[in-house]
Symmetry: C2
Subunit: 262 residues, 2 copies
DNA sequence: TGCATTGGTGAACGCTGTTCTACGACACGC
DNA sequence: GCGTGTCGTAGAACAGCGTTCACCAATGCA
């Protein structure tokens, strides 16, 4: 209809007010855009400029709503827990509930690219996360874990989950970036690498090489999780009757408290 | 003596040759300088330009010896294991040996600022690390762990060590950067924060708040380590007679292998 | 003595997080 | 209705980053 090259007349320019169409910039919209950029470009590609571009906005506009890039990451981390639900602690099933929580966390982490790396750099003590931490602690204490074990179990579990997912994501993205090779080819390469080791010097590596390569991430996650939960369960006190079997520690409690660092 | 603004005459410029004093640039010297910068400025301050400045050398000179910053980090990671010694695996004491290895690793990681963060981003499969991995695997298998547990135990352990040290370093540096407050003051702040939570909504947090704050890092590390080792030990098969007590798993082996992801 | 090769130099490119100044549209009081 | 003031955005700028490129000087070899 209108010629594209024609200059816009002054009245047209005066009437040009997409003001109602211009949605105001908020923290929520910024976080939304940041997640869009994250999923598309990964954490290394997540820059303030790209987030601003995603919103069709100048970079400096972001800084009116967000102090820092660090604060933006923190906001993303908090948003990430929206809708997370932990069940009411059931002392009979605390181990299953704990595992279910871990599995759920892993799935959530995997749903956003590089989210595990973001999670690793954050401390889970923001106001909206505290209720979840509280429920996790309730779960552990309901299982009969001594308080000093409970105090470290949360750290232990989230370190495991974040670390595992971060590692599996790195493997995943490192070899789908250079998309010439498929996953099975990569696996064969790794297998070949292990197989090329001198057998006399690396007998144990060779013995488990296939297991390290073949097992699915799901299985490895589940096994590591079970190891962790068994270790925790070995500290459970029989105050509430445990799973039905003996959960006393297999070895003597010789844990030296060691010296304080300060 | 000489006027500072005078241009240097050509012969003076021609005689300028500190050549004999100039030691040649090598990868080793670059890694040395990188460690110096790391310890002084931390990982965030470790830039190629600063490493070059440490060596009184142009930035581009580094790239003749090192492909990448990533490669430099990898070289640092490898250098980091120089002189590491793992004992010959003793099936009788495999749990103690494993713990000793973990303690030693933590001390090493703490000896260079932010080294844990570097370690987290690396894969332990460089040629000079393989012998150590091999010995670790030998240790675990000597303890009677099934191969599928051994295959994941190394990951589990190093994830724990790296994660723990990274976290403790962050706490350490975050509050010694703003050096106005001492550690005890920080601790009081945290204690106050926990104490300010509504007791009806956060009974479990309050119950263990003191433990989370008061326990030394050494003790928390040791406890987490013990939890891990107990979990591993619960999988040990009695082929070599274990520590003297029953090490059978406390709960039934209901670990679902789950579905492979590809 | 001349030449080629090696290895460092300095400038440049494109990117980053962050800050500062200025402008333009809105809401309000007269 | 009109000036005025405030708020939020735009755009340029700064310092620093990893990396690359064309040049240049000093070395060893013929």
């Amino acid at each position: 209809m209108t010629e594209p090259d024609m200059p816009t007349p002054p009245w047209e320019r005066a009437r040009r007010r997409p003001a109602p169409a211009r949605v105001p910039l908020t923290r929520e919209r910024i976080v939304d855009a940041a997640f869009a950029v994250l999923d598309r470009e990964g954490l290394d590609g997540l820059s303030m400029r790209r987030v601003a571009a995603e919103l069709d906005v100048a970079v400096s506009a972001l800084y009116a709503h967000v102090d820092n890039k660090d604060e933006l990451l923190e906001l993303m981390y908090r948003r990430f827990f929206d809708g997370l639900h932990l069940p009411e602690p059931d002392p009979e099933r605390w181990q299953d509930q704990l595992k279910e929580y871990a599995r759920q966390s892993r799935v959530r982490l995997l749903s956003h690219r590089d989210m595990a790396r973001i999670s690793m750099g954050q401390m889970p003590f923001s106001p909206e996360l505290l209720p979840h931490v509280e429920k996790l602690l309730a779960l552990l204490r309901a299982g009969g874990l001594p308080d000093r074990v409970t105090a470290i179990a949360g750290d232990l579990l989230s370190t495991y989950i974040d670390g595992f997912v971060a590692e599996e994501s790195i493997w995943q993205s490192r070899y789908q970036g250079a998309d010439t090779k498929s996953w099975t080819e990569i696996r064969d390469d790794i297998r070949d690498y292990f197989a090329s080791l001198p057998p006399d010097r690396f007998p144990n590596m060779l013995a488990i090489a296939n297991l390290m390569v073949d097992e699915s991430n799901d299985y490895r996650f589940e096994l590591g999780l079970d190891i962790l939960v068994r270790g925790l369960a070995s500290y459970a006190e029989p105050t509430p009757p445990p799973t039905g079997l003996d959960t006393r520690p297999p070895t003597g409690p010789d844990t030296g408290p060691a010296a304080g660092e300060s």
